[in-house]
Each structure stands twice: as structure tokens, then as C-alpha cells.
């Protein structure tokens, strides 16, 4: 019932900008696949190609057995798409939007009620309200309902949780998990690293290139070096001094602390050196703790390496 996706050497250029450079990857049927990357990485371009809105400059992609260029009509019938920008009619009510999208797919809200029930019951009390008057989280649930109304085998969600509060974000991911259980393949992009861990596979994309594609736990495992969280009295200045620390790479602000990666095996020696260096530079209240990397550390490190290479 669900579909797998094959993306083969996809390139896309706009005039003089290369938005996607030779993307090759496959997405398993029935999984949640996440694309993580900064703005302008090429996520939206890739999604538009997969939804047949954009024709690739070169390369091919298939959704199930259908080619995204040749069989675009079949793709449109079997794919649900939720664009990054809220794209439903703001002057129509919740119910009118749903009915409209259901009817142009030759179905009805009643027919597929079961499928969207989990989501729709949350917005049903507001069904007479205009979409423009809904809160951000409600809008996203309505958009998801509309993307699901024709019972697609694949849904593609472009940053569905951007600008949505933390509670709504969590609820939204729970809904995605429920959809997955129904056998729908889900492709989602997000700028939030913590959401990456909720995907079955994630791809890190930057500047139109894939930096890594793996299970989130494998990406964490592949982290090289030891990670330390550092804090001191003058955090603002600290980040520049840590950049100059010996045997150190990937200096990032990470919440209340700064994360640094040691390039040597002896953790004790490294922390002692770092402590000494910082005291000599006039810092006090210095804490340096070994921490386990999370997916964000891995991505930031990979992005940093890519920048250095590029």
C-alpha cells in the first residue's frame, strides 16, 4: 500500500543558482524520512520535484512506480503535499476548505473521515471558523487534514512545524506517527534538530548537497572525537577563545554552554589543558564536562566540515 521513493542524480538549476547538486537517495516504503538543513539548502526544490510542481534540470525520481515527470498525473492523485507556506483558502472555513479539497479529488470528507479523524477531531470544534482566524498549530492540522483527505500513499510536508509552539509540535509528530502506522510514507523537512531523532531516516542537506543519510542513531554513533560542554563567566568572548584552543574543532554555541570537540584521545589531558588555557586568559567559574553528542552536534560538525571543504 505504501510507496518507496527513488531519487537518482537529481540536479536543479535556476538561472545561475544550483539549487540541487546530484542528489541520489532512496526512501523506504512506510517510513518517516526527514530532511534537515538550513534555509536555502534545497529542501523545498526537492519537494517540489517530488510533487511534480518542478521539473528537474537532470536526473530522475520515482514515487512508487511512477516517474515524477512522465506520470505526474498519477503522482498528483496519490501524493499529499503540505507546502511550507500555509496555502489553504484563508477566507473559507475549516469545513469548506476540507470539502473543497476532498471534492476536487473526487472524494468526500465523509468517505475518508476515518483517515483524518485523529487530526480532524482536534479542529472540528472550529469547523465554522475561517482558516485565516485559526492559530498556527490549528492551521497546520487543517493543512495536514487537507493533504490527507484523498487518502494518499505518500505525504510530503515542507517544514510543517515551523512557527508552531512546542506543545503543538509534539502533537503534530504524534499525528505523523499515527499516519505512519496506516502505512503512509512520510517525507518531512524541519529546521528543528530535535525532530530529526523522531524520523526513521534523516538526510542532512546543505547548499543543494546531501551531507549524510542514515538512521538518526547511526548518525550519532558516527560522531568522531569527544564532545565537551564548556561554560565560564564571559560566554560571549569565550567562543572566540575556544576557537583558538589546541586540538579543538567544531566550536558551537549549544543552549547555555558551548560545545567543543577534542581531536585527541586523552580526555583528561585535554580538559586540563583547556582549563589552564582559559584561566590564563582571565576566565573564572570555568566548567568543562564531557557530554554525549546528540544529533544536532553531528549535523553541526558535518556542516562545518562541508564549509571547510567547500
Amino acid at each position: 500500500m505504501s510507496v518507496h521513493i527513488n531519487i537518482n542524480k537529481i540536479c536543479k538549476s535556476y538561472d545561475d543558482v544550483e539549487a540541487l547538486k546530484d542528489i541520489t537517495l532512496s526512501i523506504n516504503a512506510g517510513e518517516i524520512f526527514g530532511f534537515i538543513g538550513p534555509d536555502g539548502a534545497g529542501k523545498t526544490s526537492l519537494f517540489r520535484i517530488l510533487t511534480s510542481l518542478l521539473i528537474p534540470t537532470s536526473g530522475t525520481a520515482t514515487v512508487g512506480d511512477y516517474d515524477v515527470v512522465k506520470d505526474y498525473k498519477k503522482i498528483r492523485q496519490s501524493t499529499g503535499y503540505m507546502p511550507g507556506r500555509f496555502s489553504l483558502y484563508l477566507d473559507l472555513t475549516v469545513e469548506e476548505n476540507l470539502n473543497f479539497y476532498a471534492s476536487i479529488f473526487n472524494t468526500s470528507l465523509k468517505e475518508n473521515y476515518d483517515l483524518i479523524k485523529d487530526i480532524y477531531i482536534q479542529i472540528e470544534p472550529f469547523k465554522k471558523r475561517r482558516a485565516g482566524d485559526l492559530s498556527g498549530g490549528m492551521k497546520q492540522k487543517l493543512a495536514l487534514s487537507c493533504a490527507l483527505i484523498h487518502s494518499p500513499k505518500l505525504i510530503i510536508l515542507d517544514e510543517p512545524t515551523t512557527g508552531v509552539d512546542a506543545v503543538s509540535r509534539m502533537e503534530f509528530w504524534e499525528l505523523l506517527k499515527k499516519m505512519q502506522k496506516r502505512g503512509i510514507t512520510i517525507i518531512v523537512s524541519t529546521p528543528y534538530m530535535d525532530e530529526a531523532a523522531l524520523c526513521d531516516h534523516v538526510a542532512l542537506i546543505q547548499g543543494g548537497k546531501l551531507l549524510a543519510v542514515d538512521k538518526p542513531e547511526n548518525i550519532v554513533k558516527s560522531f568522531k572525537g569527544s564532545l565537551f560542554a564548556v561554560s565560564a563567566n564571559n560566554m560571549h568572548k569565550l567562543i572566540y577563545d575556544l576557537d583558538n584552543l589546541m586540538n579543538t574543532s567544531n566550536v558551537f554555541r549549544f543552549g547555555e554552554t558551548i560545545h567543543i570537540t577534542s581531536n585527541i584521545d586523552d580526555d583528561l589531558l585535554y580538559t586540563e589543558n583547556a582549563h589552564k588555557h582559559l584561566s590564563e586568559s582571565g576566565y573564572h567559574n570555568i566548567t568543562i564536562n564531557r557530554v554525549e553528542p546528540v544529533i544536532e552536534d553531528c549535523f553541526l560538525a558535518l556542516m562545518d566540515q562541508d564549509m571547510v571543504k567547500g
Partner: protein, 370 residues
């Protein structure tokens, strides 16, 4: 067909939900018709006239009385000298100056000829030529009376008797002439603006992206954008015709059905121009300026305000591609002359060609991929 029905349903909900849009669609055309019909006229009344009478005799006064008695003129008094008369024209207090030469009466009786000079403010060329014609006809009339008074025994009649009849608009009423044209103007504005705004609005708000991933067919979407405004513009035309009848007393002499049939064909063309603009632009601002550009050219060249026959040759040729001029012509023919299908056939075919070509082009231009 079912899909088209749902698209139309959605469009109508949106039109009627927009509280700012409704008065624009239905009240503004009414106001335009009422205001423009009264003001857009070539009729000239109350021309400010001054006279520099260097003769000051009963004959010269009689001539001046002829002018001041005419409803066409507003007699603004005698000027003392040429300088002050010039000043009055310059300041706009007078539009026409009549100078009666000294010894006008004496010369007229003794030498059978008198001299009069007419000076007209010709900033507005067409008005000036009309003022001159009026002045000449009054003087001619005066002249004839003198001849009859002087030679009552010799019956000098006019060798040719001219009898003028004005058909279709016997009172030479400008409102009668303008209203059919202004009706065309209203439906054109409604059609072109609403057509060009609607699709580009979906682009600007982003709703088009969600539509484009659906299996909606291009012709369904474009037709869904065209039909609601096509109906609305026809309703506007109906309101306009009712106003023409009840307010201005201008009935449709020809067939009302034929008029609406022509309007329907014409509106497909005009709405399609709007839709083509809509597919070519990305923001409502761009769409508005481009449709305004076309609208102004179409309307000013349409023959609504100035006769096409007096335009330069190249402009007359350009007018072959101006749908507005065809419909104004047909509308005047049906409303005022009662022309039938056979009389307007050729122009109607041209409008149909416009409609088919432009509608097809708008479907072709609309791309579901970006």
C-alpha cells in the same frame, strides 16, 4: 464537470464573503453610469461671450441681442477696448469675443457689407470649432433678416431648402449617445480587473501551490476563474440597462437577448485578457498596472469619447484589435438603432474569434509547474 462545479462553488463563496468586494462589484458600476452619462458630453452650453462694439448703433445692438438671446451664449457684457477684451479671454472670463468694426451700420446700408471679427479661445479645439459654427450661424441668420427687411418687395428666397432630420437620436441628446458606450465601459472594467486580480491573488497568497498538486485540469481551473465574473459582469450589464431605461429613458430598441448574447461572447474575451495578464504576472500590483495600461488604451481608442473616424490612420488600424470598440459599436447599434443579428454579424464573429483565441491562450499560459 463535477470538479468545475466545486471550483465554481468555492469561487462564489469567496466572492460573496468578501464584504469589501460586493459593493465594488455592484455599486460602483451604477455610480459610474450615473456620473459619466451626465458629464461625458460634447454639448456646449453657456459660452461666455464679450462684445467690443466700436459702432454702437441700433444695428450693432440688434446683432448683439441675437447672441445674448441664444441659449448657447452667456452674454458677459461689453468690453471697453481691445486690451481689456484680450485680458478677459486670457483670464478665462470670456471664451469668445466679437468685434464689431466702426461704421458697421453705415457700411452695411451704403456699401451693403459690414465687418465683424470673431475671436475664439481655441485651447479646446473641438469646442472652439463648434463655437465658431454657432457664431457664424447666428450672424448668417441676422444677415438674412437684414436682406429681407431691406428688400421686402423682392422676394429673395433660399434657392435650396434644407430640411434636417436626425435619426435614432432626434434631439441630439448626448446622454443617448453616451449611455450604450458607458455600459460597455463598466462591464469591461469589471471583467478585466476582476479577471486579472483573481488568479494572481492565488499566486500571491500561495494557495495556487496547493491547487497545483491536485488533479484539477487547467481548463477547469481557468474556467472556474472566468465563469463567476462572467456572470457578475452580465448582471452588471442588466442593472445598467435597467438604469438606462428608468433613469435616462433609453430603452433597448433591438433585441435584449441578442445584446446579452454579444455581451457574453465579448466578456469571455475581456476576462481572458485579464486571465492572461494574471498568468504572466506574480503580484496583484503588477497585474493591476498592466490591466490598467490596456484598459486605458482600449477605452480611449474605442470611439467612446472621440469618433474613430477622426483618429489617424494607424490608430484606426490598431482599433481592429480593440474588442472594446467592436462592442461599443454593436451596443449602440442594438440599443439605439434596433439592429438585428444580420447587421452586426461581422463584428460579432470578430468578437467570437477574440474570445476563442484569448481563452485558449490563457489556458495555455497557465502552468501548474513552476
Amino acid at each position: 464537470m463535477r470538479t468545475l462545479y466545486y471550483i465554481l462553488q468555492k469561487e462564489f463563496i469567496q466572492v460573496f464573503r468578501d464584504k469589501a468586494m460586493l459593493p465594488i462589484i455592484f455599486i460602483i458600476p451604477v455610480l459610474q453610469l450615473l456620473i459619466l452619462s451626465y458629464t461625458a458630453t460634447f454639448e456646449i452650453k453657456n459660452v461666455d461671450l464679450i462684445v467690443l462694439d466700436n459702432d454702437r448703433t441700433p444695428t450693432s445692438r440688434e446683432l448683439v441681442n441675437k447672441f445674448s438671446g441664444s441659449s448657447f451664449y452667456h452674454f458677459n457684457g461689453y468690453a471697453d477696448n481691445f486690451e481689456s477684451a484680450k485680458q478677459m479671454i486670457k483670464s478665462g472670463k470670456a471664451e469668445q469675443l466679437i468685434i464689431i468694426e466702426p461704421n458697421f451700420e453705415k457700411k452695411l446700408i451704403n456699401e451693403k457689407k459690414g465687418d465683424i471679427q470673431i475671436i475664439t479661445d481655441a485651447i479646446n479645439g473641438s469646442a472652439a470649432s463648434m463655437m465658431l459654427v454657432y457664431a457664424q450661424s447666428i450672424i448668417g441668420d441676422f444677415n438674412k433678416n437684414i436682406i429681407i427687411a431691406q428688400y421686402p418687395s423682392q422676394h429673395i428666397g433660399m434657392p435650396i431648402k434644407i430640411d434636417s432630420l436626425f435619426w435614432y437620436n432626434p434631439e441630439l441628446n448626448y446622454i443617448t449617445y453616451m449611455v450604450p458606450g458607458i455600459l460597455v465601459l463598466l462591464v469591461t472594467i469589471i471583467g478585466m480587473f476582476l479577471g486579472s486580480m483573481n488568479l494572481v491573488k492565488e499566486k500571491e497568497i500561495g494557495t495556487i501551490e496547493q491547487i497545483n498538486v491536485t488533479p484539477i485540469k487547467k481548463y477547469q481551473f481557468i474556467a472556474g476563474k472566468l465563469i463567476p465574473f462572467w456572470i457578475i459582469a452580465n448582471i452588471d450589464l442588466a442593472i445598467g440597462l435597467l438604469l438606462a431605461y428608468f433613469v435616462f429613458g433609453i430603452p433597448v430598441i433591438g433585441s435584449v437577448g441578442l445584446l446579452f448574447f454579444v455581451a457574453s461572447v465579448y466578456l469571455v474575451g475581456v476576462l481572458s485578457i485579464g486571465l492572461v495578464i494574471s498568468t504572466l504576472t506574480n503580484t496583484m500590483q503588477q497585474a493591476m498596472f498592466i490591466s490598467w495600461f490596456f484598459l486605458v488604451i482600449f477605452i480611449l481608442m474605442s470611439g467612446l469619447f472621440t469618433p474613430i473616424e477622426s483618429m489617424p490612420h494607424w490608430a484606426q488600424i490598431m482599433n481592429y484589435a480593440n474588442p472594446v470598440s467592436y462592442f461599443i459599436k454593436i451596443n449602440r447599434m442594438i440599443m439605439l438603432k434596433g439592429s438585428g443579428l444580420a447587421d452586426i454579424q461581422q463584428d460579432l464573429i470578430i468578437l467570437a474569434v477574440f474570445a476563442i483565441v484569448l481563452f485558449s491562450f490563457s489556458i495555455l499560459r497557465y502552468r501548474k509547474t513552476v
